[in-house]
């Protein structure tokens, strides 16, 4: 792999990270801590929205973020021809959550 496509790959990776980590910060520290009282005026089922984020929602979003990350990175690997094709280990590849 040449120097330029390495750099492109890395820059794209950093963009994904910036996007996902912002999302991560907003659902946890934002909705669950900093704006929790403000969000509590809205309801989701029997929960105040802020309380729901603090004790349930943030965790669901964490899982979703990793799934998005896995999908984005696998696609990026494919686009740059960076999949690991070591054959004997093929059967263990069915594990995207």
């Amino acid at each position: 792999m040449d120097q330029i496509s390495r750099q492109l790959y890395w820059r794209k990776n950093l963009q994904y990270l910036a996007f996902l980590l912002t999302f991560w910060f907003v659902v946890s520290f934002g909705c669950g801590i900093l704006f929790v009282d403000f969000l509590d005026q809205y309801k989701i089922g029997g929960f105040g929205l802020g309380f729901w984020f603090a004790q349930q929602g943030a965790i669901y979003f964490f899982v979703i973020q990793i799934v998005i990350y896995v999908i984005l990175m696998n696609r990026l690997d494919r686009r740059f021809g960076l999949e690991d094709k070591s054959e004997q280990k093929k059967e263990s590849n069915g594990g995207n959550p």
Binding site: G46, I59, E91, S92
Partner: protein, 559 residues
């Protein structure tokens, strides 16, 4: 069958299973022993990571802590799950690409320095030992309450089991027993939760029941009823926070970053075949953890409502049998201050009576099946689950200690000429010695273990995390930055904690804390200090050699 027979049966069956797996998965090489041959499928690694990570604290204590903290319990819920996002995005894939055996390995190689390696070994061993002592204690408590053997015998039985599969199988044995342990512990956690949620709300899924109407015809939701009961008895409303926003922020961050810096979790990502597998196994791990972590706050709320309803104004003579069971071993204490024979359970704002009841937070999960009157086999299941949670974490930590000694200290630093066979033997002996030391601390816990366990996170946050992330994302970071960063980060954090917890505990309150940050949350600040020191020191010292910059380039791409 009685609860006790069920407990013997279920605990006995689960232990037989662990031993069977240990015999089937013996380790033949150091690669097997340290990283299970690097051949673990990502979903299996996710299961093992979840069991590795969820300790006696998650299984036994967390729901209880939350039920006494209300909304502030989020520091544990978000703090102990959000770190997996950091792990997946910032560390796991790059560590897998690096592809060696331990965390100090990475630090030593990236910073081309055995000093950095040894500092990392010391941090890893310190963090792991404080943690493992707490697990052994958990094993002892479960044995003594459910099986009527004393705590020390319980610890010895637990040690024997861990000794067997950790020493024989190393990471390979540990991985596959952890998979079995995850299944046991999640089943044990979910079954009573389904029952209780259904009892209260007619909805069996606790995550939904938690936010629904009670089925008692009152028309109130679970949380409305809980707030009402809490205020009546002089407690703060359950859905309000008591801690300052800043402190909640810092504690949550310290636990998240600490999670991403814990060596026994990090090494699990070396065990999968490929970089892409490291990413997806972090996702699997968090999914399996989230199952328990979204159930826990529901259990907290149901159990709290149940307890307030049952015991708040109960005549002592009519106390149910669980009440006297737990009173007998001192986890519930009742002091009839006004001699009226009635239990008055009151919070700090109550004006009618003084509080007469103390409930240990740990019994919320352990006693829940009895409190909710569930069938006897559910009680046995809880015991098996608690043991699975404690043993799986203990084994992961012991392996970190063993590999730090055999691989990082001997093979890589002091005696590079030992053969693989000798290294494997030393790793086994080190694991055995570590089991015995951990058992000793389980039987004679130093008074501060419980507190120190929580601080292990702060220390991990302030030492490993910044050094590893900067090592991957900033090529200019050099060994001087790493060494000074780790030492100032961990030094500052440890000094702050030791000052408020051991030197001047009487000053440990919000008005004396620096910027209002509690010792639990100070790791976040320690981490920031580490980053500032690392960056400044690196910039005024020579850049790392060419081959290290190439090394960083290489771990950034998956093949």
């Amino acid at each position: 069958m009685s609860a006790e027979v069920w407990t013997y049966l279920l605990v006995g069956l689960s232990f037989t299973l662990y031993i069977g797996i240990a015999i089937w998965s013996r380790a033949g090489t150091t690669g097997d022993f340290y990283i299970a041959g690097g051949n673990v499928p990502p979903m299996v690694n996710g299961l093992a990571t979840a069991a590795d990570w969820m300790s006696a604290a998650s299984f036994i204590s967390m729901a209880g802590l939350i039920s006494f903290m209300g909304r502030d319990g989020t520091v544990y819920l978000m703090g102990w799950t959000g770190g997996y996002v950091l792990l997946a995005l910032l560390l796991a894939p790059y560590l897998r690409k690096f592809g060696k055996y331990t965390v100090p390995d990475f630090v030593g190689d990236r910073y081309y320095s055995n000093v950095a390696r040894v500092v990392a070994v010391v941090c890893a061993i310190f963090i792991s030992f404080t943690y493992v002592a707490g697990q052994m204690r958990g094993v002892g408590i479960v044995f003594s309450r459910f099986l009527d053997v004393d705590i020390n015998t319980g610890v010895v039985i637990g040690m024997a089991i861990v000794f067997f599969y950790a020493v024989l199988g190393g990471m390979k044995g540990i991985t596959y027993t952890q998979v079995a342990q995850y299944c046991v512990l999640i089943f044990a956690y979910m079954v009573p939760a389904f029952f209780i949620s259904f009892m209260f709300t007619d909805i069996a899924i606790p995550q939904l029941g938690f936010g629904s109407q009670l089925s008692d015809g009152s028309g109130l939701t679970v949380l409305e009823r809980l707030n009402q009961l809490s205020t009546e008895l002089g407690f703060d409303p359950y859905t309000d926070g008591q801690k300052s926003t800043l402190d909640v922020f810092f504690i949550t961050a310290a636990l998240m970053v600490g999670t991403a810096g814990l060596p026994h979790v990090l090494v699990r990502f070396y065990t999968v075949p490929k970089v892409a597998d490291a990413r997806s196994s972090a996702g699997w791990a968090l999914l399996f953890i989230a199952l328990l972590y979204t159930t826990a706050p529901a259990i907290s709320a149901f159990a709290r409502t149940n307890i307030l309803d049952t015991v708040a104004n109960m005549p002592y003579e009519e106390a149910p049998s669980w009440f006297s069971n737990w009173e007998a071993i001192g986890l519930i204490t009742f002091d009839d201050k006004n001699d009226d024979g009635i239990v008055q359970y009151r919070g700090p704002h109550a004006t009618d009576y003084e509080n007469e009841l103390n409930i240990d937070k740990d019994i919320i999960v352990l006693a829940n099946p009895e409190i909710a009157d569930l069938p006897a086999w559910v009680i046995g299941l809880i015991a098996a689950g608690g043991l699975a949670a404690a043993l799986s974490t203990a084994a992961g930590l012991l392996l970190v200690i063993s590999s730090s000694v055999a691989h990082d200290l001997l093979k890589k630093t002091f005696k590079p000429d030992i053969s693989e066979r000798q290294e494997l033997l030393i790793a086994r002996i080190a694991a055995g010695v570590a089991v015995v030391i951990a058992g000793y601390f389980g039987i004679n816990p130093p008074g501060f273990v419980a507190q120190v366990v929580a601080f292990a996170f702060g220390l991990a946050a302030a030492s490993f995390f910044p050094v590893m992330v900067l090592g991957i994302f900033w090529k200019r970071m050099n060994k001087y930055g790493a060494i000074f960063g780790m030492i100032t980060g961990i030094g500052f954090t440890a000094a702050y904690i030791i000052f408020f917890k051991f030197v001047s505990p009487e000053l440990n309150s919000a008005e004396h804390w620096f910027l209002g940050i509690s010792p639990e949350g100070i790791g976040t600040l320690g981490m920031l200090i580490n980053v500032v020191v690392s960056v400044s020191v690196s910039l005024v010292t020579p850049p790392p050699p060419k081959e290290i910059q190439q090394f960083v380039e290489d771990i950034r791409v998956p093949v």
